[in-house]
């Protein structure tokens, strides 16, 4: 089977509708602002989307298991702040090469604790990861408040986030492509991938067939933490510094992107390519709302409203509308 077939097989109804929505959005955008269809704008959108895409990759695995990871915001923060912090504290010789691995492993450690709690203590993922989010927040606030750590990104982090290794393709997009391809391969072609889907459908059955399901859950949480921290490292490079609450705007878009991409929140069903569609869709939607600025039209009507109002209201309503289009559950019957 050729690679094209593998990609085509990935498409399901949700993915197709999500991609169709992207086209419709771009079309509407182009009516208001013709520059929307320029390659420059589109590449820029993909560049911005890749940060969300990296986060969503890890969270999607957790959602496929039927769990959720609410520790995302501060795991992103941990990734960014620990990477820049390591660079500053360990000095230029040791710190600069170690910054990125250190940041990512701190995120993986948070994911590891999440995994232990959810898989081995059987704590509800929602509440355990929420607790970890608060703990990570507390530690990071203490980290920046207790002494003055370095918050500048290293040159390499900056290069990773804004450079172009391949002309015309921003590096984060390249990273997302590689990560996405690896995840697609893992989900479709490896035992781990099959087990993730199977656990999401019926953990009891998978356990009975002799699989150590707890280890699978643990691995997925570690990946989720590592992906979030990696995105944090990229974001720190993008902004050239790390800061508190840098991950806060990512929780809602991540979950929304995954679910709009057709992944079932209860686990067991969903395609990675759908998540890709969801991520691009959310990014374009957010970008359009800030470029088109619908509030301008309301000012003419005498209603002065902050731009954020529309970003929030339209964002929420579009998600609901799209879910109604294709995300509906089965009716409960006997």
């Amino acid at each position: 089977m050729g690679p094209v077939d593998i990609i085509l097989r990935q498409f399901d109804r949700a993915t197709v509708i999500a991609f169709a929505c992207i086209v419709v959005l771009l079309f509407i955008g182009a009516l208001a602002e013709p520059a929307f269809l320029s390659p420059k704008y589109l590449v820029q959108q993909l560049h911005v989307a890749s940060f969300l895409g990296v986060v969503a990759t890890g969270v999607m695995l957790v959602i496929l298991l039927g769990h959720i990871d609410l520790s995302i915001p501060w795991t992103i923060g941990v990734g960014g702040m620990m990477a820049t912090g390591a660079a500053g504290i360990l000095g230029p010789e040791l710190g600069v090469p170690l910054a990125i691995p250190f940041g990512i492993s701190c995120g993986a450690a948070i994911g590891f604790i999440n995994g232990l709690g959810v898989a081995y203590l059987r704590a509800p993922a929602m509440i355990f990861t929420l607790g970890m989010n608060a703990v990570a927040q507390g530690l990071m606030v203490y980290h920046t408040g207790g002494f003055a750590p370095q918050d500048r990104a290293t040159e390499f982090m900056r290069e990773l986030a804004v450079g172009h290794l391949v002309p015309g393709v921003p590096n984060p997009l390249l990273i997302w492509l590689v990560l996405g391809a690896a995840t697609m391969f893992m989900l479709n072609r490896t035992t781990l991938g099959r087990r993730i889907y199977a656990i999401g459908n019926q953990e009891r059955a998978v356990f009975l067939s002799g699989v150590d399901t707890r280890r699978v859950v643990l691995i997925c949480f570690v990946i989720s933490g590592a992906c979030a921290a990696a995105a944090g490292v990229l974001l720190a490079g993008w902004a050239n510094r790390s800061y508190q609450a840098m991950g806060d705007p990512y929780l809602l878009p991540t979950i929304a992107a995954i679910i709009l991409g057709g992944t079932n929140v209860l686990g067991g069903r969903g395609k990675y390519i759908g998540t890709v569609a969801g991520v691009i869709l959310i990014t374009i939607l957010q970008s359009m709302l800030s470029v088109v600025q619908p509030q301008r039209y309301f000012v003419q009507l005498g209603l002065d409203m902050p731009a954020d109002t529309f970003r929030q209201v339209v964002f929420g309503l579009v998600i609901i509308a799209m879910l109604l289009l294709y995300g509906r559950n089965q009716r409960v019957t006997a």
């Binding site: 509800p124 703990v135 507390g138 009891r204 409203m305 109002t309 509906r328 559950n329």
Partner: protein, 342 residues
Amino acid sequence: MSAPVETVGTNEAPAPRRRFSVRLSAAQRGILIAVTIFAVMFAVYGWKQPVGLTANVINTASNKGALLALVAMAQTLPVLTGGLDLSVGAIFVLANCLASTIVVGDPVSTALGIVAVLFVGFLCGATNGIVIVYGRLQPLIVTLAMGAVYFGIALALRPQPGGSVNFELADFMTRSTFAIPHSAILLLLVVLIVWIPYRRSVPGRAAYAIGSSEQAAYMSGVPIDRAKVLAYALSGLLAAIGGLLLTAITYSGAAKLSIANDYTLNSIGAVVIGGTSLFGGMGSAIGSIFGAFVMRTVGDLLIVFDINPVLQPLFVGIVLLAAVCIGSLRVLRIKNKLDLYR
């Protein structure tokens, strides 16, 4: 349905009969644990507090706790049905912003303003419920998205923090009489007027049944749809009462996303500490009240023990993790490993 519904979903053997033993349901045990933790924490707080537990100290603690308690009660109702409401914080903020605009002026317009705020909260909750039930969507994502909408509306009402509120009302709601804080009386009234009648009504019992097993509830002819919509609608109402109290405490309205997120997330924590199962069907709003007070007392304890207040999230997180870990001690008691996998 004559059996006590709380016990549905627990699979414990009947306790051996002991003298003077009181048989508690799992939910009642949850409340008891939350009350005990709170009592111990608050006693330590009062003991370390230099001025002691004066009426003023109690009143401040009650005001802060009551805010989260109302939002946590609001969270409890959807959770009992096996759902979740990630928009309670946004409705809370929306009610705050709305109240800072319309709960002003002479007594009549103030009263009308209060009614309007509560109605808007109820409407927001009902919208959540209707979209979830009739749109057949997951509560998690619906309330997440609708929360964004409600917050956007709050932002439209109050682009800048500000506004005002009827001073007499605000003063009355936040004062205490004979060392009994009025905010605590408000909580008691909410329990008596909203929670207990709801708990005893058909939709209230239906909520528990749905949380235990939606299939079984459906087959027993329980009005699932109506019960769910009502649970979310009342949740919105309770969150709006919280927003009203916030307006009385701050004398103003502010649309801050951090406030909305903080209350939503802490409300889930309070619900869990209060002994309500996130899988639904078991628990009580009373437990959530004490869960909320536990969460809020953590911050007070940090102050009296002279710990850097920036560490508050860390300690709240640790309390949360400890609470879920206590809850998961049952893992150790399970003999058949298969029982681990629901």
